[in-house]
Symmetry: C2
Subunit: 179 residues, 2 copies
């Protein structure tokens, strides 16, 4: 899947500017399974407009560049549906944390604990951000939201629980060693 399809997907919920789409991808539900930067979003939007898959309306603002509000067209809906019909690529998971853990024979016990705590903190940030999405009334409400949040919560919680377990093990071992 490419950024164009992603933008189309974001616009299928509500019209938005490139800036707003970026925020949605960074802080909203998308953030848990997709990345995108301005450098890819703005050109994608321009291209989609040229192809007639989105329309463009300039909102004047004082002291700022015009806000370019994009909205999906019927052709855009069709294109999105078509993109959705192809079999999706497998999930990709990249983790320097797990690489570090696999190499833990290179690391001091203190370093390992710090790494585990950082990972735990990251997972909890994601988790609380997910709950914020849940609580946010301005959040779009479609059947997919519930599923994605449920899936994310299940996976994130499992990871966090596992780390907490290991952390407790390590710390009790540390105490014993210090005796």
């Amino acid at each position: 899947m490419n950024i164009r399809t992603l933008c189309l997907g974001a616009l299928s919920f509500k019209e938005a500017s490139g800036y707003e789409i970026k925020k949605e991808i960074e802080d909203g539900l998308f953030s848990h399974f997709i990345d995108a930067s301005f450098g890819s979003i703005y050109p994608a939007l321009t291209q989609l407009n040229v192809e007639g898959l989105v329309t463009l309306r300039a909102e004047e603002q004082t002291g700022r560049p015009d806000k370019k509000v994009y909205a999906i067209t019927d052709a855009g809906h069709d294109a999105l549906a078509k993109a959705l019909s192809v079999v999706p690529a497998r999930d990709k998971y990249k983790s320097e944390f797990l690489f570090e853990m696999l190499m833990q024979h290179y690391l001091s016990p203190g370093h390992i604990i710090v790494a585990l705590e950082k990972q735990l903190a990251d997972l909890n940030i994601d988790l609380s951000q997910m709950n914020q999405c849940k609580a946010d009334s301005s959040q779009m409400r479609v059947p997919g939201c519930e599923f994605v949040m449920g899936y994310g919560e299940a996976v994130l919680t499992a990871g966090a629980n596992y780390i907490e377990l290991k952390l407790a093990e390590l710390k009790s071992q540390g105490l014993k060693a210090a005796e």
Copy 2:
């Protein structure tokens, strides 16, 4: 983290050829959180050799190109330790599956069920591959292995359970609708 560090990490367990490292990354423990292709591994190995971080020994073979067996040097160990000392980047998770699920208002119930079943199958493949690693006696045994497998199993199982639940819900709903 880059492919060079990855190769160094793989070689820290045992000496190997580029081909063997690729296999390790594809089928071994690394596979669950890292990707790499020949096009990146071979050049990385060449470069590491030039820099003196690995040594190279050519094993003659009949009817095949010489097997180039790489081994990590002391300088390589140092470089790996140094790379491991920097704070790792956050985990990155990309999922077209979740994007599809978020857009499920574009999809037919049949399509959704197929997508869920595919995801479940993928998760189970990963899970069984993890168990194969566990059973494989030739597998390297370091403390990190246990952790990585435990983490992977926890996360993968949580995802699989969630999907099974949703699948059961959908199917019972489908039956009711058919009545």
